[in-house]
C-alpha cells in the first residue's frame, strides 16, 4: 500500500515568490494534516481537514498561507508571498478519523 505522497521533495525560491506543496494521503484516510517542522524541532500543526472541511486552522498564518482539499482527497498548501522565515520542512499526514497518523516524507523549502 502506498504511503502519503508529497511533492515536490525540495523547493528553493526567492523571498516574496509564491510556492505550493501537494499531498496525496493514504487511500481511504478522511483526515489530513499539514505540519511545519523547523530544524531540530518537532512538527507543529498548521491545519487539519476532516474530508474537505478545515476543522482546525488556528495555527495557519492566514495572511500568507492558504490550503485547500476540494474533493476531500488530495490537498495543496500555498504560501504567497514567501518570507525567509518560512524555510522549513512541510509535512503532510493522514489518518482514519483520529487514529494513528501516517506522515509523508515532507517538502523541504528554502527561501533565499
Amino acid at each position: 500500500e502506498a504511503g502519503v505522497v508529497q511533492s515536490p521533495r525540495y523547493k528553493i525560491i526567492e523571498k516574496k515568490q509564491p510556492v505550493a506543496f501537494w499531498c496525496n494521503p493514504i487511500s481511504g484516510h478522511n483526515t489530513l494534516y499539514w505540519y511545519l517542522q523547523n530544524l531540530g524541532q518537532g512538527p507543529e500543526l498548521l491545519i487539519r481537514y476532516e474530508n474537505e472541511e478545515a476543522v482546525d486552522d488556528s495555527q495557519l498564518p492566514k495572511d500568507r498561507f492558504s490550503a485547500e482539499r476540494l474533493k476531500g482527497v488530495d490537498s495543496t498548501l500555498k504560501i504567497q508571498p514567501a518570507e525567509l522565515g518560512d524555510s522549513a520542512v512541510y509535512l503532510c499526514a493522514s489518518s482514519l478519523s483520529h487514529n494513528e497518523q501516517f506522515f509523508g516524507p515532507g517538502t523541504r523549502l528554502t527561501v533565499l
Binding site: 502519503v4 531540530g40 524541532q41 518537532g42 512538527p43 507543529e44 500543526l45 487539519r48 482546525d56 509535512l91 499526514a93 483520529h98 494513528e100 497518523q101 501516517f102 506522515f103 509523508g104 516524507p105 515532507g106
Partner: protein, 111 residues
C-alpha cells in the same frame, strides 16, 4: 544502558546497549501519548503509543513508561542497533484532538 536527563538534544550509546529517552509533557489533561522515530529525510514514523490509563506498554524491543504524577514519558529501546539511529519525538494528544510534539532527541549508535 544509558539514560538522559529530563530532556537532552542528543544521546550516544554503544551498539547492543539499552537506550532510554525521556520526555516531559505539559498538559495534565492529555490522555494519549505517542513516540515517533524520524530518520533523516523522512517523516516521523509511529513506534509505540500509550493511553493515560496505563503506566507501561511493551512492543518489540521498545517499552514506553508513563508517569502521570510528574508528567513524564520515557522510551526504552533494548539492544540498540545501528538502524535505531534517528531523532525520537514524544507527542501528546490534547483534548482538542491535536497532536503536540516535544523537541526531540537525536540517538546516535556507536559501533
Amino acid at each position: 544502558g544509558e539514560s538522559v536527563g529530563l530532556h537532552l538534544p542528543t544521546l550516544s550509546v554503544q551498539e547492543g546497549d539499552n537506550s532510554i529517552i525521556n520526555c516531559a509533557y505539559s498538559n495534565s489533561a492529555s490522555d494519549y501519548f505517542i513516540w515517533y522515530k524520524q530518520e533523516s529525510g523522512k517523516g516521523p514514523q509511529f513506534i509505540i503509543d500509550i493511553r493515560s490509563n496505563m503506566d507501561k506498554r511493551q512492543g518489540q524491543r521498545v517499552t514506553v513508561l508513563l508517569n502521570k504524577t510528574v508528567k513524564h514519558l520515557s522510551l526504552q529501546i533494548a539492544a540498540t542497533q545501528p538502524g535505531d539511529s534517528a531523532v525520537y519525538f514524544c507527542a501528546e494528544m490534547t483534548g482538542a484532538q491535536k497532536l503536540v510534539f516535544g523537541q526531540g532527541t537525536r540517538l546516535t549508535i556507536n559501533p
